[in-house]
């Protein structure tokens, strides 16, 4: 099927399947799935700048579906999500401007590939270490079966002591996040985490949930289930902004995004329902292979020279 905006010829079945797989991951892990969607779009011949912008547009729709589902489970902290959106938008604009500068310099594909490999490998390694350590310790072990109620959403992490020290930083203004069970935290800390996530969102594409979701758990101390739901809520705002910014720069093929989203809509609902059956550390451990898959695809492209 020919898509006139990007000039690409792509099978709609391929796009629906990619959307479905990413939808399940998005609903379950609270990520945009750009580490799969970006390379998957490159695989069928889309340039990185189009892959980044189109993926962002598709993420907006998928996150709307997943958030509605998570909200029904009480997994969304609206206050935290709105604050984080501010930091993310600032970071996303800086990231998008950097992409434009690299596009003008003519080396956008190489730089984005190398940065994405480094980021994906770092996240996977850290989360593997932390979630395994947490699961081995007595605290991390929770009974099998459906995870229900507020208590089940309380999280334990091997990185907990570091998280508590970070939370104790008294940089005015301090705010409370009762929905996430946090009595006091610096507003600047939340904005900083959001800015970093936003920067990678604008630079590497997607909602950058693969950075923000772990940051919310390890730096801000948000329980995993709430981090997943809140991150998705925040992604709606930031990805909408990112989509607008990229569309104005000519990097969005909305027809491809709409076709991808038909698969993602059903996948996102399945993923969100699945979170109710797993404890926090298990969700984090299951997260580990995802950035590795993205890194493997980018490495393959880099070494073989195939348009991926």
């Amino acid at each position: 099927m020919f898509f006139p905006i990007s000039g690409a010829d792509i099978s709609p079945i391929y796009l629906v399947i990619v959307g479905f797989v990413i939808g399940i991951m998005g609903g379950f892990f609270g990520v945009g799935g750009s580490f799969i969607a970006g390379p998957a779009l490159r695989l069928v011949g889309l340039d990185w700048n189009f892959a980044v912008g189109t993926d962002l547009a598709h993420i907006v729709g998928k996150s709307v579906v997943a958030v509605r589902q998570h909200r029904a489970f009480g997994n969304v902290d609206l206050r935290l999500g709105c604050i984080m959106a501010l930091g993310t938008i600032g970071g996303a604009e800086v990231g998008a401007q950097l992409i434009q500068a690299l596009k003008r310099a003519g080396n956008v594909n190489l730089v984005v590939s190398i940065v994405s490999i480094v980021v994906y490998l770092s996240i996977s390694t850290f989360m593997l270490w932390e979630s395994r350590k947490t699961l081995i310790s007595q605290k991390g072990r929770l009974p099998r079966g459906k995870v229900k109620g507020v208590k089940s959403k309380e999280d334990h992490s091997a990185f907990g002591p570091v998280t508590r020290s970070i939370q104790q930083l008294k940089i005015w203004p301090m705010i409370a996040l009762p929905a996430s069970g946090i009595k006091e935290i610096s507003l600047w800390l939340i904005l900083f985490v959001a800015f970093v996530g936003g920067f990678f969102s604008g630079f590497l594409g997607g909602g950058a949930g693969y950075i923000r979701m772990p940051s919310m758990v390890y730096v801000l101390g948000i329980p995993t289930h709430l981090a997943v739901g809140t991150d998705l809520f925040e992604i709606i705002i930031s990805a909408s902004y990112g989509t607008f910014s990229h569309a104005v720069k000519g990097n969005v093929d909305i027809l491809i995004a709409l076709v991808m989203h038909t698969g993602a809509a059903i996948g996102a609902q399945i993923g969100a329902i699945c979170t109710q059956y797993f404890a926090g550390p298990k969700i984090r451990l299951a997260f580990v292979p995802l950035p590795l898959i993205g890194a493997a695809i980018v490495i393959y492209t880099l070494f073989t020279g195939h348009k991926l």
Binding site: I5, V60, G61, V65, A247, H261
Partner: protein, 80 residues
């Protein structure tokens, strides 16, 4: 328990089949009626195109979620 799982899986398979048919029909509608217009908009009015793109995406998300929810309710209602 096994009977319940089989029923859920069957309902899900029926839902997927109906959903696939609806999606194929939708592709033709979107690509035939909106494709040319969106292409023109993208090349001539970027700011309007950007706003329309976001609205289309959110609109599709809400409609598709309602469709899947209705389908599930309808199929489970009939199965149960």
């Amino acid at each position: 328990m096994k009977k319940e799982t089989a029923k859920t899986l069957r309902a899900f398979a029926i839902e997927l089949a109906i959903y696939a048919l609806l999606v194929v029909a939708y592709f033709f509608l979107v690509l035939h009626f909106l494709g040319g217009w969106l292409y023109q908009l993208e090349s001539q009015h970027r700011y309007i195109y950007a706003s329309v793109a976001i609205l289309l995406m959110i609109g599709q998300a809400v409609v598709l979620q309602n469709v899947t929810t209705l389908l599930l309710r309808f199929i489970r209602g009939r199965a149960g």
